[in-house]
């Protein structure tokens, strides 16, 4: 019989209260934007603080998350997958079952309610794969707000279906043809729109990056994911997991499931970045694994950059992970050792995608497949009573085209 290590939830939760009042997570985060945006950020900080403390706001958000988004999402014990791997037990947090098919709507719903409180009739967003754009267009339609989504022309070509979905939902999709024509350029353009139209416009950022208070606010809205797990895991598995895994691009789904677990020091947190064609090739988006600290998009964090401090173009088969920065709280969790970050290649993610389809009847998003892939790597060498909780952050319907193409199939 194997020796049991101390169970994960045997330790007392430790205090964790970052960011500080000025939006810093250790040396990371902050408000690195031009003077022209400072007043808008101050207004947002104030409005968000008021919402955070307002029971009526929290009640309205809870109601919408239950009745419109479909929360709580279940935790599911992936027994066939676990048995096939022959080691640790894999549990999946089913964010793929949310309305719009991913965790993104937790955040856009929250921010849309803040926008309403602030009396802003127009919302804007940036999008890469189109998931955040769709989630923003969805809540804008729900509340009758004007919605403009910025999207790189490169991404528009790759994600034609999501562009159409946004248009069906009444949004205007503005093509961005500057720079690398991808997510980071769409973000630049959305910032420009905001600085110009700040009086009537709310900028719904889609990940835990950007200037304070965005990393905190987006994390807070997504942390409903981890809070549910804290309750669901003991009910389903009898205890908290040993490991929590999530994919990391900007890092919003990972922060959402990690954050409530940070004080539970026995629970190991593992972020899984996009290794693309392999770290050694340079064609990847594994910012924390291979990047270095710098300043981009309003915060100090790890970045993919060249020898002159210019931001590099990234590569991943999963558009949602294809970003040269990462949320500042992840940078802090890495440096402090509270979380660790690994990478999974395109090929490994694709293999995990197919395995989950086959063993569990669940088609995961390519982003989430990175986290599944790392769980599959870990499970065989761990004892059978260990628990891996994977945030299955989205469903893979949007990825049919990419996966088929990788298998040499054209529709």
């Amino acid at each position: 019989m194997q020796m049991r290590e101390p169970v994960a939830d045997s330790r007392q939760p430790a205090a964790y209260d970052l960011p500080d009042a000025t939006g810093h997570f250790g040396p990371y985060g902050g408000t690195f934007v031009a003077e022209t945006l400072q007043a808008a950020l101050a207004e947002l900080r104030e409005a968000y603080e008021a919402c955070r403390k307002d029971p009526a706001f929290q009640a309205e958000l809870a109601y919408e998350l239950e009745h419109y988004v479909g929360r709580p999402s279940p935790v599911y014990h992936a027994r066939r997958l676990s048995d096939e791997l022959g080691g640790a037990q894999i549990y999946l947090k089913r964010e793929d079952l949310n309305h719009t098919g991913a965790h993104k709507v937790n955040n856009t719903m929250g921010q849309a309610l803040v926008a309403r409180r602030m009396g802003k009739p127009r919302v804007i967003a940036e999008t890469g794969a189109g998931q955040h754009g769709v989630a923003t267009a969805t809540v804008a339609a729900r509340y009758g707000m004007e919605c403009v989504v910025y999207m790189g022309t490169e991404d528009i070509a790759r994600q034609a279906q999501n562009v159409y979905r946004m248009k069906l939902l009444g949004a205007t999709v503005v093509p961005v043809s500057s720079g690398s024509r991808t997510l980071k350029d769409a973000l630049n353009e959305a910032m420009r729109d905001w600085v110009t139209n700040v009086a009537n416009t709310f900028y719904i950022i889609g990940t835990v990056a950007g200037p304070h208070p965005y990393p905190m606010m987006v994390r807070d809205f997504n942390s409903v994911v981890g809070k549910e797990c804290l309750v669901q895991m003991p009910a389903l598995a009898g205890r908290q997991p040993d490991y929590v895994l999530a994919c990391v691009g900007g890092g919003s789904n990972a922060m959402g499931i990690f954050h409530p677990y940070i004080p539970h020091e026995g629970v190991k947190l593992i972020g899984v970045e996009a290794g693309g064609l392999g770290i050694a090739t340079g064609r990847h988006a594994a910012t924390l694994s291979a990047g270095s600290p710098g300043v981009l998009h309003g915060n100090r964090t790890y970045l993919m950059q060249d020898a002159d401090g210019q931001i590099l173009e990234t590569h991943s088969i999963s558009a949602g992970l294809d970003y040269p920065g990462v949320g500042p709280e992840h940078a802090w969790l890495k440096d402090s050792g509270r979380a660790c970050y690994v990478s999974i290649t395109d090929d490994e993610a694709l293999a995990a995608f197919h395995t989950l389809c086959r063993t569990e009847g669940i088609i995961p998003a390519l982003e989430s497949s990175h986290a599944v892939a790392h769980a599959m790597k870990m499970a065989p060498s761990l004892p059978k009573d260990r628990i891996l909780l994977v945030n299955l952050s989205g469903r893979g319907d949007k990825d049919m085209h990419t996966v088929a193409k990788a298998s040499g199939i054209t529709f």
Binding site: T22, T31, E35, R192, T196, L296, G309
Partner: protein, 273 residues
């Protein structure tokens, strides 16, 4: 006395606003930058603002972004720009040179290393658009150690508290962004700008320059009646973009000359008033 302070003192004597053209270093290529600076100074520039290109120029409009992309494609980097300044200093020890750009290239070099190298090259001031005063303690200290002026922005939306904060930290001059938006946007409301400048002057004796949205010599003339400096950016960069590369310097100079006439006219307006 620093070159920037000496320049503003001299111009106070002439009762004229400083004319400050902005160009992106390395646009259209690093080989052209020295010629463009010479042409701008020959055509009436009092201070040169040299943009350090960045891959993600969030606060700039399409004109400056395209200039950054051209410069980066042509191989421009921070070290090369400092070399250009050093070269220019051999022939002109009077005209202040201010670098303007984004935080990441500077942080990547290291703030202390950058300050030392910039000083050695002959840089007089630096404006990092995404270093607001509250994130700038280490930055301002590094520049102060090298005797370089930290330039800060103020905007129409700046609160009273922020105006006071910038007033305490800024040296050289304060750059007032005259409209909400990005560089290169539409023309500005000069009456609004004049009101805000009066407010800023109430809390600082540092000269206040105005930029963003000054597209015509007539606008420059109106602004120069009350501002300490007039910054012309996108309008010059557009000329460089349109010109054959070897004509860029002459074209930029010719355009600036018209703005200089506007600034000179403002000095006469003030004298007549």
């Amino acid at each position: 006395m620093s070159r920037i302070a000496a320049t503003f003192e001299r111009l106070r004597g002439e009762r004229r606003a400083a004319l400050v053209p902005f160009v992106t270093a390395g646009d259209p290529s690093p080989a052209h930058t020295l010629g463009i600076i010479r042409s701008l100074v020959a055509n009436g520039a009092d201070v040169i603002e040299l943009g350090v290109p960045f891959s993600d120029p969030m606060a700039d409009g399409p004109t400056i972004q395209r200039a950054s992309e051209r410069a980066l494609r042509a191989g421009t980097g921070l070290a090369l720009i400092l070399d250009t300044v050093r070269q220019y200093r051999r022939e002109d020890d009077r005209t202040p040179i201010v670098l303007m750009g984004y935080a990441n290239p500077v942080e990547h070099m290291g703030v202390a290393a950058f300050a030392a190298r910039a000083k050695e090259a002959g840089v007089d001031g630096v404006l990092i658009v995404d270093y607001p005063p509250e994130e700038s303690a280490a930055w301002v200290q590094a520049l102060a150690g090298a005797g370089i002026d930290p330039i800060f922005l103020l905007s129409p939306t700046s609160s009273e508290a922020r105006i006071d904060l910038v007033s305490r930290m800024a040296k050289g001059y304060i750059y007032y962004v005259s409209l909400k938006g990005v560089t290169g946007a539409a023309n500005i409301d000069t009456a609004d700008v004049e009101r805000m400048l009066a407010r800023i002057r109430a809390s600082t004796s540092v000269p206040v320059g105005v930029g963003f949205g000054i597209r015509e010599p007539e606008t420059a003339r109106a602004i120069a009646r009350f501002a300490d400096a007039v910054v012309i950016g996108s309008r010059i960069v557009e000329e460089i973009e349109r010109a054959e590369p070897d004509r860029a310097a002459a074209q930029a100079g010719a355009t600036l000359a018209a703005f200089r006439a506007g600034v000179d006219a403002a000095a006469r307006d003030k004298a007549a008033a």
